[in-house]
């Protein structure tokens, strides 16, 4: 009886791969287990029939003997319209190699976990369309960060730099209760810091920066942009702005930027990072040079 029930399912799977999504994951796994060989074969057939994308993924794992020497693994992933790089690596992990490791969460360019080095450029995998890329698509972990495993890099240093600029609103004076209980920002001021507030901490800019690569103490574009957001906020007092500029104008602060525009090129949120860094440079000069 049970074999009779299973049979139509395994035959359906190759013909209509989308049907598999409609089943519950457990059903699918059961079906796969019971007809492993048939399923694999039919999957290969489906793959050959449809359009596939060729991705080359960086592999490294210090804990597995065969992966201690970094290498590239090839995957041929069935292509669907609108498929992103993240979709492709998720497919490769789910269908081919469950040990493939990478960070991802929201899949909509908000969480900032899946910045990879794709075809020689730092990009957000969930925001990058496969159709826009040349094949084979090379997917590597972010440069200038230590690789922990496969596409996962150690973000510790990046976060340290982000925290170094005190990325939180600080003001001694809270507005008087009778006056306003909220700290309102003028629409003009909001416009000014709007772009800088879009940062999702993905680390693409820091990874692309040639200066940050050679100078570990350099704050990096993301941290300086974060500082810009608060330094340009009118609601903070002058003293706090000066305090922020004192942090930024140090040797490894804004002056390390040599305007290569690499960060601005790669930022997935289109933040004009170089512009912000340059503005902070001018602010720092203005603070120290007062002829009036």
């Amino acid at each position: 009886m049970s074999t009779q029930q299973q049979e139509p399912e395994t035959q359906e799977a190759p013909e209509d791969p989308e049907m598999k999504g409609a089943q519950s994951p457990q059903d699918r796994r059961l079906a796969e287990k019971e007809s492993g060989a048939i399923d694999e074969e039919s999957e290969k057939k489906a793959e050959l029939e449809g359009e596939t994308v060729h991705i080359k993924v960086f592999r490294y794992d210090p804990e597995v003997e065969g992966k201690q020497e970094p290498r590239f693994d090839d995957f041929h992933v069935p292509f669907e319209k609108g498929m992103t790089v993240l979709d492709a690596v998720i497919y490769a992990r789910d269908e081919y190699d469950s040990s493939l490791t990478f960070r991802h969460s929201c899949r909509q360019a908000v969480c900032g976990s899946d910045a990879f080095f794709i075809n020689g450029k730092q990009r957000l995998a969930c925001k990058t369309q496969l159709s826009e890329l040349e094949q084979p698509v090379r997917i590597e972990p972010l440069p200038h960060q230590e690789v922990v495993k496969d596409l996962v890099v150690d973000m510790g240093h990046f976060y340290d730099q982000m925290h170094a600029v005190e990325p939180y609103f600080q003001d001694e004076d809270t507005p008087e209760v009778s006056d306003l209980e909220e700290q309102h920002q003028s629409p003009e001021n909001r416009e000014k810091i709007k772009m800088s507030s879009r940062c999702i901490w993905c680390g693409a800019c820091m990874s692309s920066c040639n200066i940050a690569a050679g100078d570990n103490q350099y704050l990096g574009p993301a941290a300086i942009n974060k500082a810009y957001k608060f330094a340009m906020d009118d609601r903070e007092s002058e003293e706090i702005k000066e305090h922020r500029l004192r942090i930024l104008e140090q040797e490894h602060g804004v002056w390390r930027c040599q305007t290569q525009f690499s960060c601005t090129e790669v930022c997935p949120k289109d933040i004009p990072l170089t512009e912000h860094i340059q503005e902070l440079k001018r602010e720092a000069v203005k603070k120290n040079l007062k002829f009036w």
């Binding site: 490294y60 210090p62 804990e63 970094p70 080095f117 020689g120 450029k121 440069p143 200038h144 230590e146 690789v147 922990v148 150690d154 040639n210 690569a213 040599q258 305007t259 290569q260 525009f261 690499s262 601005t264 090129e265 004009p272 170089t274 512009e275 340059q278 503005e279 440079k281 001018r282």
Partner: protein, 141 residues
């Protein structure tokens, strides 16, 4: 994390084909800057060998003093003429890109930074080519 893998600097200059305009501008600016510093010291070294010409008015009038003969001797060499064209190209690019960086520092036209880099490259090329007849006078032109 017990172990991690550092890929070093391979991905920097090994990937020069993927560099963007701003990166090329930075590299060229550094390169031309060092070339100009190198030229400055060569210039000082060469001219200081001719200090002995000072004061000898008769020789200067007759154009047989050590300064004039040094310069004439150098200008006769084809390679020196070529190097002069190169020096002009390097200096012009450094000046034009320097102006571009000045604008960047002032926050003017940051959206067009790549275009201004290409413009300075093209302008450098035009000025260099236009200078060739002047520099190469007497040695094949």
């Amino acid at each position: 994390m017990s172990q991690s893998y550092n890929r070093g600097l391979v991905e920097d200059f090994g990937r020069w084909k993927e560099f963007t305009a701003g990166m090329w501008a930075w590299i060229f600016h550094k390169f031309t800057g060092w070339m100009l510093i190198g030229y400055l010291f060569t210039h000082i070294a060469v001219l200081s060998t001719a200090i002995g010409a000072a004061g000898d008015t008769a020789a200067i009038q007759a154009e047989t003093d050590i300064y004039t003969t040094t310069i004439q001797g150098l200008e006769e060499l084809f390679i020196v003429r070529v190097l002069e064209v190169g020096l002009l190209a390097v200096a012009v690019f450094h000046i034009l890109n320097g102006l571009r960086l000045l604008m960047v520092d002032l926050g003017i036209g940051l959206e067009a930074q790549d275009k201004s880099f290409y413009a300075s490259l093209i302008l450098t090329g035009v000025i260099t080519v236009a200078s060739v007849p002047t520099f190469m006078k007497g040695v094949g032109f």
